[in-house]
């Protein structure tokens, strides 16, 4: 999988590159709009991560060129502009998804996976991690033969964590994808923390192996060991 990152902020570009390479993506980084423009025109990528505010050439311009060439490469836009108009403009110009800075790297990775997965039907019927098993059809969760009694929200959160197992899920991702709270200025962290704590009581407390971990300052991860 070849990913192009067009981002002028070196630290952000490096963090993304390191993370993506750790997940075995083939990563190219362009530090200016011009370079991104050139690379997009001469090489082919499976996905483009594009910063909108770039020196010399606007991200939107890179995006428009890409689409004019008839390429359907998924594009994930990163930007500090977060008004509805900016978002609409970005998506209208042909972007597939949108992330507002500051973002959690974990979330960028999740979005990239989702974009690359897009179009492939989801055939998963059960999700599993160690002895924890979730049946998506009967909506039953079993750990080591014991049936767990989860509320609807807890089930959704656990499903989300299982789908992203081994990877960090941020509070922001949960707020948006589970609670459908899109406004970023919402006091919602407590609700998420309490829900996770309750989930942990049911999923982990009775067992020796802990699966649900908190990554301080980032979010949560489901896995046998602390990610």
């Amino acid at each position: 999988m070849r990913v192009l990152i067009v981002e002028d902020e070196r630290k952000v570009a490096k963090a993304l590159r390191d993370e993506l390479e750790a997940e075995h993506y083939d990563v190219r980084v362009a530090a200016t709009g011009e370079e991104g423009f050139f690379l997009v025109n001469h090489e082919s990528f499976d996905l483009v991560v594009l910063d909108l505010m770039l020196p010399r050439r606007d991200g939107i311009e890179v995006l428009t060129t890409l689409r004019q060439r008839g390429l359907n490469t998924p594009v994930l836009i990163l930007t500090a502009k977060d008004t509805v108009d900016d978002r609409v403009h970005g998506l209208d110009s042909g972007a597939d998804d949108y992330l507002v800075k500051p973002f959690a790297v974990a979330e960028v990775l999740a979005r990239i996976r989702a974009l690359l997965r897009r179009g492939r039907p989801d055939q998963t019927l059960t999700l599993q991690q160690n002895d924890l098993e979730m049946d998506l059809v009967t909506r039953k969760v079993v750990r080591a033969t014991r049936l767990l009694d989860l509320t609807v929200k807890e089930f959704e959160v656990l499903e989300y964590l299982l789908r992203h197992r081994g990877r960090v899920v941020s509070r922001e991702m949960l707020a948006r994808d589970i609670w459908r709270v899109t406004a970023r200025a919402t006091p919602f962290d407590n609700v998420i923390d309490v829900t996770i704590a309750r989930l942990r009581r049911k999923v982990d407390d009775p067992f020796d192996t802990k699966l649900l971990h908190t990554v301080r300052g980032v979010g949560f991860v489901l896995g046998a060991e602390r990610g």
């Binding site: 977060d82 008004t83 509805v84 108009d85 500051p102 929200k153 509070r171 609670w179 709270v181 899109t182 406004a183 970023r184 200025a185 919402t186 006091p187 919602f188 407590n190 609700v191 309490v194 829900t195 704590a197 309750r198 990554v215 301080r216 300052g217 980032v218």
Partner: protein, 432 residues
């Protein structure tokens, strides 16, 4: 010192003098015409009288006509009968060098003509004309001078106000214009200006407080990040400790992010740059779904969270923004209500044309002095900035904006130690 805008003074004077000149001229012409008519009228009456006397003498005693001259002082007349002059005084016909007023009386048989000297009338009229010709310009001149003086007097307060206003800057917003008479026009103007100054002063004060609070809130996490990072760099730590340090820094980043998000939301809201959607929103549904989100928090504190909605109450507003407002209110209620307290969310019809969502808690209540200020950004009742309760004091500011943007208002009722009631009042949408 300039007395206000000179053009205004000049305009006032001109208008004043112009109107006065018009009035004086019209009056003078009127007087002249009237006096002239009266004087000639009197003369004509005298002539009529003379004619009647001559007629009488002519009919009764034609020979006495000659005596009329010195007996009746009728000095100029002639009587003609059938083309023959019967009597004619000396000097008839009247000379054209002096003005004469004449009158005739004709019959089939005879004709009588009389003339009287009008020199006195002419003289009187001329004198009057001269008096008027000198008096009118003088009066107009006086009117201009007086008008100019009066306009200056009248406009002097404006100049003084302008001078005072010029001296008032952002630094001296406490200064006020003197109000001499609050009931006259200038007094009202000064009062209005003073009110504006008060509001400006208040706005500047708020901004000042806001800047101080915002920098405090922004610096706190920055300081924490910096010191945690510096300390960590000075020592050799193991992996777990490094994780701890980085996690701690990331937590502060989260706090900063949240703060910036909230501030941006408020700033955009205040500059009116958040476009509002208009939908018919079922308030009961909204209250229920928001409450369900927060139920876990209430349960965790063993609080009772009740939601009551009597009927289908709807309001036309932006659902996402109204939701944000309610989320902030409910979050506050749960946060400040102690363990085993009760929070109830009620959707009501309220007064006609209004719909209300009430959030009632059994928290500590809000002291009266703070009640009006709790919606200010960063304002906190306890005055302290404890980080345990979380948040930075922007929740209610956001809630108020969210409700007001939707054409509603937030009301607060509170009793210390008993609890508070926050009421969102919205214009209701007619039931369909």
């Amino acid at each position: 010192m300039r007395l206000g805008p000179p053009s205004l003074r000049a305009r006032l004077t001109l208008w004043h003098a112009g109107v006065l000149a018009l009035v004086i001229c019209a009056f003078s012409v009127g007087v002249f015409v009237f006096v002239r008519a009266r004087l000639y009228g009197a003369l004509d009456q005298q002539i009529g009288h003379d004619l009647a006397t001559i007629e009488k003498v002519y009919r009764e005693e034609t020979g006495d006509l000659g005596e009329l001259d010195h007996r009746m002082a009728i000095t100029l007349f002639e009587v003609v009968e059938g083309g023959t002059v019967i009597y004619r005084t000396r000097g008839w016909p009247p000379a054209t060098t002096t003005p004469y007023r004449t009158g005739t009386m004709a019959d089939t048989s005879h004709r009588i003509a009389v003339a009287r000297d009008a020199t006195a009338v002419r003289e009187t009229l001329r004198t009057l004309a001269i008096i008027l010709a000198i008096g009118v310009p003088c009066a107009i001149g006086l009117a201009i001078a007086g008008g100019y003086f009066l306009a200056g007097r009248l406009l002097a307060p404006v100049g003084a106000m302008a001078e005072t206003a010029r001296r008032i800057t952002a630094e001296s917003l406490t200064a006020r214009l003197p109000v001499a008479n609050p009931r006259d026009e200038f007094g009202r103007l000064a009062s209005v200006f003073n009110d504006t100054l008060s509001r400006l002063h208040e706005a500047f004060e708020q901004l000042r407080r806001f800047t101080a609070d915002a920098s405090h809130e922004l610096r706190t996490p920055l300081t924490a990040m910096r010191s945690v990072g510096e300390v960590a760099l000075q020592r050799t730590l193991n992996v777990a400790e490094y994780r701890e340090v980085i996690g701690s820094i990331l937590e502060e980043v989260d706090r900063l992010t949240g703060l910036v998000e909230n501030l941006l939301t408020l700033t955009r809201a205040e500059s009116g740059r958040i476009p509002l959607a208009r939908d018919v929103v079922d308030l009961g549904e909204l209250a229920t779904s928001v409450s369900e989100h927060f139920r876990v928090l209430a349960e965790e504190k063993e609080q009772t969270l009740r939601v009551g909605s009597i009927a289908y109450i709807k309001a036309e507003c932006d659902p996402a923004i109204l939701r944000l407002g309610l989320i902030n209110l409910l979050h506050n209620a749960i946060k400040y209500t102690p363990h085993r307290g009760t929070i109830s969310v009620q959707v009501k019809a309220g007064s006609p044309g209004e719909a209300a969502i009430e959030v009632r808690d059994t928290g500590p209540g809000i002291p009266t002095v703070d009640r009006t200020r709790i919606f200010e950004r960063f304002y906190r009742v306890d005055g302290g900035r404890s980080r345990d309760t979380g948040g930075v004091g922007l929740g209610l500011a956001i809630a108020r904006w969210a409700v007001e943007a939707n054409g509603g208002r937030i009301e607060v009722e509170s009793e210390e130690t008993k609890g508070s009631l926050f009421r969102i009042v919205l214009p209701s949408s007619p039931a369909d």
